[in-house]
């Protein structure tokens, strides 16, 4: 079999880095359901404790539904969102990547930076206030995803924006879920 990509390299990279799953393509509810079912099955096989599984499930749903609701639909397949689930020592990682308009960067950045500065009790208060004031948007979101991801995972969100051109950037969001 001839191929321009070396499958064994990909396999090695995935197993050396303990990557469970990599996906690139459009996100929809059916895709989310299957990814979750697949990951849960794998975690059960690995005898991962229920509390950690629940936290990972939580963070995955919020992260994936976020993308589902905010992904840019373009004709360019190369602009499809991305998902990676992996393991780093004792923690699991959920990494998502999607293109966003450059003029939206500061809104997203400010939102995450603000949440990342809060301690546990402040997060709880912020969540409660934000929920009271939230209105379900046209795309069906409550605007609470990032706060919930930090609360449930117990870890701050890492992020990075890679400018792709004058209009768009690739936004990477990394959430670590550990048992604490």
């Amino acid at each position: 079999m001839e191929s321009t990509i070396n499958i064994y390299d990909i396999y090695k990279t995935m197993s050396d880095n303990k990557i469970i799953l990599i996906y690139q393509g459009l996100f929809d509810q059916a895709m989310i359901k299957s990814v979750i079912a697949m990951t849960e099955k794998k975690l059960i096989q690995e005898n991962i404790e229920e509390g950690l599984r629940r936290k990972l499930f939580n963070v995955m749903v919020e992260g994936l539904q976020n993308i589902c609701k905010h992904q840019l639909i373009t004709n360019e397949n190369s602009q499809n969102p991305f998902l990676m689930i992996g393991k780093e020592e004792a923690a699991y990682s959920v990494v998502t990547g999607n293109f966003i308009k450059n003029d939206k960067i500061s809104i997203v950045k400010d939102k995450i930076d603000y949440i990342n500065r809060l301690n546990k009790d402040e997060l709880k208060e912020h969540y409660k206030t934000a929920r009271l004031n939230s209105v379900i948007s046209d795309v069906g979101g409550a605007g609470l995803g990032f706060i919930d991801m930090v609360r449930k995972s117990g870890n701050r969100l890492d992020y990075k924006f890679y400018e792709s051109d004058i209009h768009f950037s690739f936004f990477i969001l990394h959430s670590k879920i550990s048992n604490n």
Binding site: G51, R54, Y127, R131, G140, G141
Partner: protein, 123 residues
């Protein structure tokens, strides 16, 4: 009666207007919460116009996403209005797995927000 069968991403809804036992159970992460919960609010609207002695609303959720968390708050607010306007008896039972601290905490947070008898029950 309102009966909605559970799916992988939506909860089971069993509202019985004769026994006045209203139950939401399972997982709630629908793609579109507003559409999914529309019949719930419509049913509650009709129910609030009838006599409702000793109503028990049971939340038996194992997971809900943030959009559902907002909807649950709206349901509780609706129940509170019902209780205040008719002075009918109503109580909430919030079930959680004993090992699930997040679900307990979620129940505690709702309990602080509404003036309805609210019981947290470990199972």
């Amino acid at each position: 009666m309102l009966n909605i069968i559970a799916t992988e991403d939506t909860p089971e809804i069993t509202f019985n207007g004769e026994t006045n036992e209203l139950i939401i159970s399972g997982r709630s992460l629908p793609e579109d919460v507003s559409t999914f919960y529309k019949p719930v609010f419509e049913w509650l609207e009709g129910f609030s116009n009838t006599q409702t002695p000793g109503t028990v609303f049971k939340f038996k959720l194992e997971y809900f996403n943030t959009a559902s968390s907002k909807i649950i708050l709206d349901i509780l607010m609706k129940l509170e209005d019902m209780m205040e306007s008719k002075q009918s008896e109503l109580k909430i039972e919030w079930y959680y797995f004993e090992s699930d601290d997040d679900m307990l905490e979620a129940g505690e947070e709702y309990k602080e927000l509404v003036e309805i008898p609210f019981h947290l029950i470990a199972c």
